[in-house]
């Protein structure tokens, strides 16, 4: 079955430093979604990428979808303490709902 892997598992940064997490799928994806889960919270949808090579930005966050649609990345510029949490990528199942999630990258930010 489809497998989605994320690296690194943990990232500790000083406030103001940049952060990047990478997501790799064992199969070609029709799209990829990114979610953020704050400590003690639930996953919250951030963005969906659909097109090969697509790049989307949300303020300090930049999301990329690989040309082969098998990998993706999330880059945060100048991290803030509000960025702490676990970032998950998710590949779609045969329909919405049955998504395959990676194990996430947990970001901690030291003020």
């Amino acid at each position: 079955g489809q497998q989605v892997m994320q690296i690194p598992q943990y990232q500790h940064v000083q406030e103001g430093e940049d952060f990047t997490t990478y997501c790799n799928s064992s199969t070609t994806l029709s799209n990829i979604q990114w979610y953020k889960q704050r400590p003690g919270g639930h996953p919250v949808f951030l963005i969906q990428l659909v097109k090969s090579g697509e790049v989307k930005k949300q303020k300090r966050l930049t999301f990329q979808f690989g040309e082969a649609k098998k990998n993706s990345s999330l880059h945060i510029t100048a991290t803030q303490t509000t960025d702490v949490g676990t970032y998950f990528c998710a590949g779609p199942g045969t329909n919405a709902g049955k998504s395959t999630f990676g194990d996430g990258t947990t970001l901690t930010v030291k003020p």
């Binding site: 969906q48 709902g97 996430g104």
Partner: protein, 114 residues
């Protein structure tokens, strides 16, 4: 506009017991999916309900069962609890007919099996 609501928030059960978790989807959503999230891992798909039927199922044993009601709310039942069933159980909803739409998660139920 209410989001996805789950109850209870926390639950402690003994090995061998049975548990029922409840979920009300976001207003306007008619499809409900259940996920299990173990500590330090990503959510794992259990099953999905639409039109009161189980439409898709992940790699979970038959001890895990569910139900969807006419008002789209859903229940997750787990029988013969094992210590390994301890996890955060997340309910997610999305509108039917929208391929790959974002999932809206509830706050989850933290189940501890002792």
């Amino acid at each position: 506009d209410a989001g996805v609501t789950q109850s209870p928030t926390h639950l402690i059960k003994t090995r061998g017991q049975q548990v029922t978790l409840r979920c009300s989807p976001k207003s306007g959503h008619d499809t409900v999916s259940w996920y299990q999230q173990a500590l330090g891992q990503g959510p794992q798909f259990i099953f999905q309900y639409y039109e009161e039927e189980e439409r898709q199922r992940g790699n979970f044993p038959d001890r895990f069962s569910g139900h969807q009601f006419p008002n789209y709310s859903s229940e997750l039942n787990v029988n013969a609890l094992l210590l390994g069933d301890s996890a955060l159980y997340l309910c997610a909803s999305n509108p039917a007919g929208t391929l790959n739409s974002p999932l809206h998660f509830g706050n989850g139920t933290r189940l501890t099996v002792t």
